[in-house]
Amino acid sequence: MTTIYRKTKGLQDTELHYCPGCAHGIVHKLIGEVLEEMDALGAAIGICPVGCAVFAGNYFSFDTIEAAHGRAPAVATAVKRTHPTQPVFTYQGDGDLASIGAAEIVHAAMRGEKFTTIFINNAIYGMTGGQMAPTTLIGQKATTAPLGRTKEQAGMPIRVAEMLSTLDGCVYAERVCVTDVPHLNKAKKALKKAFARQMAGDGFTFVEVLAACPTNWGMEIEEANRWLMDNMAAYYPLGVIKDTEAM
């Protein structure tokens, strides 16, 4: 018997607490697979966010650090600079990265910190129960935007990958999703590339994953994935946003 597919060694044998169909689980395993394939599970250090992925360290099989809300890039900066040969990444939601942690991500990118940020953009605050995120779409409802976000009240949603791409220290930024297998394969490739460029010491690398949060969007899973492709991917274009030489 040969194995075609088994759970990656990058994950422990623990149950995930995520909601049914939540993209966090999928992205977790892609990271695990990429690091496993790089033979880096012994060296990797992951920085988890405050958000639904706050317990990621209970799932990943490598060492992990839970950062204060939004500060993962600062934590990763220190970890990578003191462990320059090891792969380091932050895993952050849109509240964590794009709202409270906006300064930290901008500065890590500016400094060209040699770690990878995996940005789970689900256009909502998952863990706290569906409040508006900086990436919530216009018209999308949230518990703090009960009538739907308006640009007059909260402005247009922020395109983080595009914004960070204005910084020279950010050498690679791609936006992906994991709603089906072809997209998932692309996502994995993007993660692989980000880690490879990190290890080459090129600079800051960034993979934004458009993700569904069926629970807080109040949708069935398939409906959520469709909504994602129709609405999120329309505003947040998928694909490579930036890919330049080492800074």
């Binding site: 607490h17 909601c19 639904c52 998952g126 863990m127 129960g129 807080n216």
Partner: protein
């Protein structure tokens, strides 16, 4: 008069909401009341429970160690709270989905086939109303009329058509409670 109830069940079973109904009815009867929720860490699914106190005096501790009654809407709830009921108290069991029996002999057990009755009435969602009726009748803590008035006021506008269904569920529950 002092009732200290723990109501417990799955997330969607409406235990939190009948807890609130009890408080509302108590207030309508000019009693003191408090409602304290407790959620598990899960976002979706998981168990939830609330503690309701109804009293004719100022309420001190809003949580209780030995409730006068426990309302168990699912198996986990019964397993968790049966042991906590005060001796002489009552355990309400949603017998439609809980196969177990109350094992303690120093408490009273009231079995209410909430889901069956609700399905019978055509809407599984009113299982909790059945239980509310049973509780009110069995304990005599509140007047059935108070709950009836409350239900009538609760559903207005488009939802007004839900009043008869809920009243029906309440009454079926009251019967179960009375005969208990």
């Amino acid at each position: 008069m002092k009732k200290e109830v723990i109501l417990s069940g799955f997330g969607g079973q409406g235990v939190m909401s009948i807890g609130k109904n009890l408080v509302e009815a108590a207030v309508a009867e000019d009693l003191e009341a408090s409602w304290v929720p407790s959620y598990g860490p899960e976002m979706r699914g998981g168990t939830a429970n609330c503690t309701v106190i109804i009293s004719d005096e100022r309420i001190g501790a809003p949580l209780v160690e030995e409730p006068s009654e426990v309302v168990a809407m699912n198996r986990a709830a019964l397993a968790k709270f049966e042991s906590r009921v005060a001796p002489g108290g009552t355990v309400f069991v949603n017998s439609s989905i809980i196969p177990d029996k109350v094992t303690r002999v120093d408490v009273k057990a009231v079995y209410v086939p909430c889901d069956e009755i609700a399905v019978e009435l055509g809407n599984a969602k009113v299982a909790n109303m059945v239980m509310l009726g049973a509780y009110v009748a069995a304990t005599g803590a509140l007047k059935p009329e108070t709950i009836e008035t409350m239900i009538a006021e609760m559903f207005t506008g488009k939802k007004a058509k839900l009043v008869p269904l809920n009243l029906e569920a309440l009454h079926r529950g009251l019967e179960c409670g009375k005969s208990a």
